[in-house]
């Protein structure tokens, strides 16, 4: 079937609102996800700045107790459900997956669009709940408090429930795409590692997210009808809610981090001009992480009234996760060895990721040790841990991906100098915010309180000042990206000299992705002169 290929970029083929709202093109859907998650990030960020400001004094500054509770809940819920979970897989995954495979689209384009619309619907409910009496339960919605608080739990939970389906459908779509749409020559072990990461993420999305769905559904039913399964006063078991919730939410932290790790593999090979060290180990360790992440959820319940036996078991299993994560880190570092490193801004984010994620991961091991966690649970130590993993890990990778793929997606270059300065500001600001939190957490500062012992005052002040540095960094990124959008210099097809397929088409890509289906004859990272 021969036909003329339209050589215009996918932006130019059609214009206008409807060309976006009902598009079936994975690239447009990816861009729309990107815009949505950035809005989510901005919104969550505003809450974060407000929280940090409130904490600058040991007494109440401007928030009442309830408002503080609502703010941290919204900060968490928005960041988790509107930003981090869809961030890399839904935006860059959608845009890049078919390109990296050499396919024309994802397997089910209409399903893809539907999942975006579902996402918007869910997000609308979550945002609506802010106006109907914002939730004050914490993003974890723990029973029995969530059953009795007078805030709009049902609306917010319903939003998260709906967004879950968007995540599931994306997962289904990616699995089918990766299985079926690989062109000739693209064998499993010639796929870029980002694709492997998306594959394992999809497994998690498909197998874990439905449990979140049903859990939230049960929570709504319990709240509306009091059927008595989570409410202890009716003979129910609130710890069961925590089991259900974390059966999803621990794998969910890997839904966040696995795609980030995939981005890392792309960055390190491109900017070191070197074949990845231990391709198969990285690929398999993605799958291993996906599987093991289902076995450890109980480490969130150590002091929730879970049995000692279960706690011991979960503590033991938790240590296992560290193995495949470490395999990846070692492989990336080995890839850098003797590479010809080109320290462009995406690479700086790679370095930041390694540094910060290691701190996050190591403190995870500390928390996974039963006897330590009994003291550290629900302190700022935990807050610092998960920010080092989620922000230091996922967000750095997200920014790395933005800087790496921006020329391809938008077709323009950005100001590299400003990008480097912003990266330094963000990394420094990040550490100023969160490192003190390890210290005060270890000394016993509990999380989720806005009135605290003056002993912790100095740490909180440092932390708040850090949040301003971070904000400046992000605003800078926003500034030069907008500048690039408006009058950035036109990007070449392959500005970084990368070997993966998405760089073999124009920047931005044409509607059909490639003029002719690419044929693949070797692995994705076989740079000249690099040992394989």
């Amino acid at each position: 079937m021969e036909h003329e290929v339209d050589k215009r970029s996918f932006y130019e083929v059609k214009k206008g609102f409807m060309s976006w709202a009902i598009t079936l093109d994975h690239k447009r859907i990816g861009i729309m996800y990107l815009v949505s998650v950035l809005i989510g990030f901005g919104l969550g960020g505003l809450f974060a700045l407000a929280l940090r400001l409130e904490l600058i004094t040991p007494d109440k500054l401007f928030m009442a107790d309830k408002m503080y509770n609502q703010s941290f809940t919204l900060h968490g819920a928005i960041m988790v459900f509107l930003f981090i979970i869809p961030s890399i897989p839904a935006s860059f995954g959608n845009f890049m997956l078919p390109l990296m495979l050499g396919a024309k689209d994802v397997a089910f384009p209409r399903l893809n669009l539907a999942s975006f619309h579902i996402f918007l619907l869910g997000a609308a409910f979550l945002v609506l709940s802010i106006f109907l009496g914002a939730v004050d339960t914490g993003w974890t919605f723990y029973a029995p408090y969530s059953l009795h608080t007078d805030t709009s739990v049902v609306c917010a939970v319903f939003g998260a429930f709906i967004m879950g389906f968007s995540s599931i459908l994306t997962g289904v779509n990616f699995i089918a795409t990766i299985h079926s749409l690989r062109p000739p020559g693209m064998t499993w072990f010639r796929m870029p590692l980002f694709v492997w990461a998306l594959y394992s993420t999809s497994i998690l999305q498909v197998l874990a997210t439905p449990v979140l769905g049903i859990t939230l559904l049960l929570l709504m039913v319990e709240r509306v009808m009091n059927i008595g399964i989570f409410d202890p006063s009716l003979g129910g078991d609130p710890v069961l809610f925590e089991h259900f919730f974390w059966f999803y939410s621990h794998p969910a932290v890997y839904i966040m981090i696995l795609p980030a790790m995939g981005v890392m593999s792309e960055l390190v090979t491109t900017f070191c001009r070197r074949n990845i060290f231990g391709y198969k180990y990285i690929a398999y360790s993605s799958i291993a992480i996906a599987v093991i992440s289902f076995l450890v959820w109980g480490h969130h319940l150590f002091v929730s009234g879970q049995s000692d036996f279960a706690s011991m078991l979960f503590s033991l299993l938790t240590f296992l996760v560290a193995i495949p994560s470490a395999i990846k880190i070692f492989n990336w570092i080995a890839t850098m060895y003797k590479g010809s490193i080109d320290a462009k801004s995406p690479f700086l984010y790679f370095v930041a990721f390694i540094l910060l994620f290691c701190i996050g991961g190591f403190t995870g091991i500390v928390l996974g040790s039963l006897s330590l966690d009994v003291n550290l649970h629900d302190t700022y130590f935990v807050v610092a841990h998960f920010h080092y993993t989620m922000m230091g890990g996922v967000l750095m990778a997200f920014l790395g991906a933005v800087h790496y793929w921006w020329p391809k997606m938008i077709g323009k270059m950005y100001n590299e100098l400003l990008a480097k300065i912003a990266c330094f500001l963000i990394v420094i600001g990040f550490n100023v915010v969160f490192f003190p939190q390890f210290l005060m957490g270890a000394k016993g500062m509990p999380r989720r309180y806005h009135v605290y012992d003056p002993e912790f005052h100095v740490y909180h002040v440092i932390s708040t000042v850090g949040s301003w540095i971070l904000a400046v960094g992000f605003i800078m990124v926003l500034y030069y990206l907008i500048q690039s959008l408006r009058n950035g210099e036109k990007a070449p097809d392959n500005p970084w000299g990368s070997l993966t397929l998405e760089w073999k088409t124009t920047s931005p890509p044409i509607l059909e992705n490639f003029e002719s289906t690419p044929s693949v004859t070797c692995g994705p990272y076989e740079y000249k002169g690099s040992p394989s």
Binding site: H179, I203, L207, V211, G228, P232, S233, L234, G235, G236, D237, P238, V239, L240, H243, F247, F294, L295, W297, G298, L301, G305, Q306, S307, D308, F309, A310, L313, F314
Partner: protein
């Protein structure tokens, strides 16, 4: 597409009859008391029925192997969910006992062990 295997009608009829027969079996054995094995026996028959449905009605017997892999994977993760959650619930009573003895802490959660409902005094 035309090369897809067309299953003979006879196979489907036999499948249906087997399933109806097994449903009778399910009802009949529920009348016997196997003690604590009651659930296990009921589930065993249900699993046979489920396997029959999956193999013949859903066509896994003639299908691409990977679809079966997906099904089995989901079942494995369901099993993990069951085992680890019940691993907690079934050992919880013991933990509560230790806490009550050593520290005088009584679990505020009313359900602390098998058969506890009988002493559960909360009215609905």
């Amino acid at each position: 597409m035309s090369e897809h295997y067309v299953v003979p009608v006879k196979t489907y009829v036999k499948t249906l009859l087997t399933l109806i027969f097994l449903t009778f079996v399910t009802v009949k054995i529920a009348e016997f008391d196997f003690g604590s094995l009651n659930v296990a026996v009921a589930l065993f028959v249900a699993m046979i029925k489920a396997t029959v449905v999956a193999l013949f009605f859903m066509g896994l017997k003639w299908d691409k192997g990977f679809n079966a892999v997906i099904l089995i994977t989901s079942l494995i993760f369901m099993a993990i969910f069951f085992l680890l959650t019940l691993g907690d619930i079934e050992t919880r009573a013991q933990t509560d006992k230790v806490e009550a003895m050593r520290f005088g802490i009584n679990s505020p959660v009313n359900i602390i062990g098998e058969g506890h409902s009988e002493s559960h005094s909360k009215k609905h």
